[in-house]
């Protein structure tokens, strides 16, 4: 699974996260359901959520809002068309405040 975050460097406010899914042969996976959840590294903060829409070529795009500066951890929950489910996470470090 690959991902991109825009804008770069990430800032507090709206952001677009694009996730690319491919099978073990590298073939893009279409028809999956992808949900994102963003958490700060500190407990007790409001998590942010986003449902991704498919934009083709195995790519899924979601809008989320970074509500605070700092390090974020994104959880990606994927439901594949064949019923399989998996979860991955990646970090978005140093989201800039203001």
């Amino acid at each position: 699974m690959m991902h991109e975050v825009a804008p770069q460097p990430p800032k507090v406010g709206p952001a677009t996260i694009t996730v690319s899914l491919a099978d073990s042969a590298g073939k893009p996976i279409a028809g999956a359901r992808v949900k994102l959840e963003g958490n700060m590294s500190h407990p007790g903060m409001n998590p942010v959520f986003g449902a991704a829409r498919e934009i083709g070529d195995g790519r899924y795009q979601a809008s989320i809002e970074f509500t605070m500066g700092g390090d974020w951890v994104m959880l990606v929950r994927v439901d594949l068309p064949d019923g399989q489910k998996f979860e991955r996470e990646f970090e978005v470090k140093g989201v800039q405040a203001g």
Binding site: N39, S41, P43, K93
Partner: protein, 486 residues
Amino acid sequence: MSKLSSNSDAGSANFDLLRTPILGRILGWRHSRTLLQVPLFLLSVVMVLHGLFGPALAPKNLATTLSWVHFRGALVLVMLVAGNFFCLACPFMLVRQAARRFFRPRRNWPRILRNKWLSLGLLVLTLFAYELFDLWSSPWWTAWLIIAYFLGALLVDGVFKHASFCKYVCPIGQFNFVASTISPLEVKVRDQEVCLECRTKDCIRGRRDSPRSLNVIQRGCELALFQPLKIGNMDCTFCLDCVHACPHDNVGIMSRLSAGELMTDPPRSGVGYFSRRKDLAALATVFTFGALLNAFGMVSPVYALQRWLAGVLHLQREAPVLGLIFAFFLVVEPVLLFGLAAGLSKKWGGAKEAIIPLSIRHSYGLVPLGFAVWLSHYAFHFLTGIFTFIPIFQSALASIGWPILGEPHWGLAGMPKSAVYPLELGFLGLGLLGSLLVSYRLTEEGSAQRPGLAFAPWAGLCALLWIAAMWLMSQPMEMRGSFLSG
């Protein structure tokens, strides 16, 4: 009579928590402490297990969430409205008490360590480790910190008699002792006249099953606080041993003026004079300036400062940079500010005390403001994240194949930040007011020829720290673990 009458409020018509219908009966029960400790002990076990074996992401883990959001927030809020009830319910003491059924400590705590210097060092070390290792973001390290506390309490109180760990070692305990000086409740005698007639002094000696027996059936105060001469909450763990030991039912949990104990300097049982305790003054200073430093660690300017220091000094590692920041904010800044305020107070007000004794006496005046900063900071996390433990419990139970609480509701959080911000400002305002009042009373008690002018520099210092706190709380929060990577 003259000595015992120093605890002057006793015997008045103060509110007494132990005289209330339900809570009073529960707290007055001999096993009330155990009743409170057992749930916290079980919760600690759950936190340790989840911290070691549960999700590595801090917001999904009970160890980090309950430690850094709920425990700290509830602690300062309970201190504000009641007293040191967290020391009362301390789970570490439950384990040490159980262990003492098998191992009787034989040694007295070393005389050279009968002060707050060791525990002060440990408190600073804890604050330093919190920043350096980003403890808030590590369930694993948080679990080990809890384990270390249990082991530390067991080891110290397994070797040394009385409550050596609480009085001389525990960093949380020292924080609680200072914070509880602003609490509205205090464990103290109801009627001094009764103490005058008392011949057994069980509140300090404890009670044995017979005069010649070594078998203690009820402990007296293990922190050497003799009730008739005890003044204030410093060093009091609210363990209620004195309440249960008193054969005359003459010890209560009484109301009092919050922070009133900071305004005067009488001799205090088990503590002595505040003005002669450099270690206590240093603890109060670290408490106040550490509150600002701890909050500073959560806003973006700290990262700019760290990067600037690292660049200027060509440092690649965080520890020395953080060490410099700690040294500046906890040592250099207080020394300069206290020195300046004391110097001006002497010059303008004609105080006869030397600068160091004057600074020591006034270090306690800043405690209300320091407490307000801790309160604003921790109440923010607590109130904005108060429900975050619910989905974690749901998830934890589901992960062990017992999904009785249903699907985790990860969106549960707490009050909106915009609603908590006015509360933070209110706490800081109250803290400033408290510090101004205490500082004024301390000035009045001193040797200044012109108390009004002598007070002005201390008022200026309170105002300066309040402005710093207001600025910190108005900054957008930023939680970053890797400042050198940008």
